[in-house]
């Protein structure tokens, strides 16, 4: 936890100690607590009610909070996002689920033309503080309709905040902060970590500030930066390097817009080398922006060119699901190349 995060408070009752949750359990818990905390919070989307969402992130919430607070929508992402905008403008706190990030397409115009712009174009008179949660990323043999990483489209849209946790702790804290914030937030949930990522989560209320990265491992030789579904492989690569005597500093960005430039620049200034990892296709990948900022700020301090490990510029292939993703070996190889530059 970084110093900027709010500490768990004593309120909330029950057990105060941390428990081990999966990432998806942390999401559900955040939704449950926010629904309890604030009457204006509503949760909706396709199949979120009786079905509990296709990944069961909203399981049990309708039974607990009723049909007015947690409800199913017709099969239309434009309706879901557009309605969320309208509800938010009128004073509610909508948390909309888009079943898969691959299906945000039909809601795209509502996201970029309405949600993202309403504050700016009304001179701040109207705002749309909504949250869109959506599973993204590959590694589940879902083919391209259930594996894509479209975050760059949204990071390219001023007015939106874009976050992607990789731990249960961050998933809960970021989601809560997003719901309480004043801007539209897209929360990409790395679906292959839904059940694979387990970790300690405080029972007491806390949030994780949007825009802050986290150092997952300290090191002096190079800085490895990633976010979302690639993080376990990034950490695995760092462990493997450590056995060879190379100490990588590992940073989990957590937030893409805004992103933690200070954390990244401080680290790269120390290590002199940066390897950036994401699974989205390489061209116009968000990490291209990170690379640009690093070279602009630290050109004379770099000991090697900033290196990127990314997905390939192909649609997400079904059969090559695992080869497509940047695994620990590919990440480690990029690190070695950077070190040997």
């Amino acid at each position: 936890m970084t110093a900027t995060e709010s500490r768990p408070t004593a309120q909330g009752g029950g057990t105060q100690g941390p428990r081990t949750l999966t990432l998806i359990q942390a999401v559900t818990e955040a939704l449950r607590e926010e629904l309890s905390r604030d009457e204006r919070v509503v949760v909706f989307g396709q199949d979120v009610a009786a079905r509990g969402g296709v990944f069961l992130a909203t399981a049990g919430l309708q039974a607990e909070f009723g049909e007015r607070r947690v409800f199913d929508t017709p099969l239309s992402e434009a309706s879901i996002v557009g309605a969320a905008v309208g509800m938010a403008v009128r004073g509610m706190r909508p948390v909309a689920e888009i079943q898969f990030a691959d299906y945000m397409g039909p809601g795209f115009d509502q996201i970029v033309s309405q949600a993202a712009k309403i504050r700016y174009r009304s001179g701040g008179q109207f705002t749309a503080p909504l949250v869109i949660r959506t599973p993204s990323g590959g590694g589940v043999k879902g083919g391209h309709h259930h594996s894509q990483s479209p975050e760059a489209y949204y990071t390219h849209t001023p007015g939106l905040k874009v976050v992607m946790p990789s731990t249960p702790y961050d998933a809960k804290g970021l989601l809560k902060a997003a719901i309480r914030g004043h801007d539209p937030v897209i929360l990409f949930e790395p679906k292959r970590l839904y059940r694979a990522a387990k970790g300690e989560v405080p029972a007491a209320d806390y949030t994780v500030e949007l825009g802050r990265g986290a150092v997952r491992r300290e090191g002096r030789d190079l800085t490895l930066i990633g976010y979302g579904g690639v993080m376990p492989d990034v950490e695995k690569a760092a462990q493997a390097l450590s056995k060879e005597g190379v100490e990588a500093e590992v940073i989990d960005l957590r937030s893409l817009v805004p992103w933690d430039r200070d954390l990244v620049l401080t680290s790269v200034e120390k290590t002199g080398r940066a390897v950036l990892v994401s699974e989205a296709p390489r061209t116009a990948n968000f990490m291209g922006e990170v690379a640009y900022v690093i070279q602009e700020a630290l050109f004379d301090r770099l000991l090697a060119p900033v290196s990127q490990v990314a997905g390939f510029d192909t649609p997400y292939p079904y059969v090559q699901d695992r080869i497509y993703l940047p695994g620990a070996n590919r990440i480690a190889a990029a690190c070695v190349k950077t070190l040997n530059f």
Binding site: G52, L75, G105, G143, H145, H146, P315, V319
Partner: protein, 369 residues
């Protein structure tokens, strides 16, 4: 006799197979047996694929059990390899009946080298050039505007073809659906829109999807005829489809046919347990009792040409053998290698993809390019 906008679904045969109006002459016992065979084949394909899924040999499958009359009836009402089809992901019975080779279908589901789509698409998302069966996309309703365009091209090119576009009831909520239907209507494009209304969109029932009584009434607002058909009555499906297709061929512009049917199984394998959460056993039992295959068997019995138990068992066994053999051949063809990832992204391999392919080749061969 075949009227649009009827309050009740058009039907020829009751649930138990008794005709409720005069059977058109073309439905001879021989024809009915062929249709029966097509439906049994589609169902058994379904059953075998669910088994492959359970065995972990494929990762996704969307059943169409209970919807065979709608899909087989539609396939038998259009001109194969002539008319064009923009399908949705539950349409294997449609594809199979149009003549997509079973080996191609199985290979696609297994992602083997014998898959014409080369293992790139998720299972059950096939494409078949010879049948003008354009690739299945998961993205709901995204096929509707292109189908309108396909039909518009047919009109511009002056070819004697029509376009068929299928979708579920849930799809009619998407903006793309309205955009596509409207585009076809405004341009009087020769497009037959077919709603396979199986009454559920995953866990969302029709009532949670739309406030209109039925799907087909929406056609009125767009200025085209809308028909409501009993989708489990293959005679009704074929009578209405043939009639409407004929009108479209003669330049009437598009039409919407709603086939009222039911998805007896789960939405997909991802939905296996949760099914119990949102449907009642009574509802599933009611619709299982309206099975389209037993209905044709009832009709054949009524006509004095019953399908014997042995005959039925023979049909089932034959399909199982056919699928088993296809699985054997598909698996024997091996897995596509990493190279296919970079092909077909563009017509030519651009330099950045060439570089990425080279880097993967180096990785796969441990540095030996």
């Amino acid at each position: 006799m075949i009227q649009p906008f009827t309050p009740d679904p058009l039907r020829w045969v009751a649930d138990d197979g008794q005709p409720i109006r005069e059977l058109p002459a073309r439905f001879t016992p021989g024809v009915l047996r062929d249709l029966h065979r097509d439906m049994v084949r589609a169902r058994e394909f379904d059953r075998k694929l669910v088994t492959l899924l359970r065995q972990g040999r494929t990762t996704f499958y969307a059943q169409s059990r209970g919807m065979e009359a709608t899909q087989v009836g539609l396939a038998r009402s259009i001109r194969v390899g002539h008319d064009w089809v923009w399908p949705y992901y539950r349409d294997h019975a449609l594809g199979l009946t149009l003549g997509v080779p079973l080996l191609d279908l199985v290979s696609q589901c297994l992602g083997t080298n014998s898959d014409p789509s080369r293992g790139r698409q998720m299972p059950h998302h096939f494409a078949a050039k010879r049948q003008n069966f354009v690739s299945i996309s998961s993205s709901i309703a995204s096929q509707v505007p292109p189908a309108a365009g396909n039909a518009l091209a047919q009109k511009y090119l002056g070819v004697d073809e029509i376009t068929v576009c299928t979708f579920g009831d849930g799809a009619t909520s998407e903006g793309d659906w309205h955009a596509g239907v409207n585009m076809a209507a405004v341009n009087a494009a020769p497009c037959l829109f077919v709603c396979e209304n199986n009454q559920w969109a995953i866990s969302t029932p029709l009532r949670g999807q739309m406030a209109s009584e039925t799907v087909h009434v929406k056609a009125r607002a767009y200025g085209m005829p809308g028909y409501l058909v009993d989708g489990n009555d293959i005679i009704a499906v074929m009578e209405v489809m043939s009639h409407v297709a004929q009108e479209i061929r003669q330049g009437s512009g598009p039409a919407l046919v709603e086939c009222l049917t039911y998805r007896v199984g789960s939405h997909s394998n991802a939905d296996a347990d949760a099914e119990k959460n949102y449907r009642t056993r009574e509802e599933v039992a009611l619709w299982t009792g309206r099975d389209p295959i037993t209905r044709v068997e009832g009709l054949l019995e009524h006509l004095g040409h019953p399908v014997s138990a042995e005959e039925r068992a023979g049909l089932i066994a034959a399909t199982h053998r056919e699928v088993d053999e296809a699985v054997r051949q598909a698996e024997a063809s091996g897995q596509p290698d990493w190279r296919i990832m970079f092909e077909d992204v563009y017509a030519d391999l651009p330099v950045h993809l060439r570089e990425q392919a080279a880097s993967l080749r180096a990785e796969q061969t441990g540095g030996q390019a």
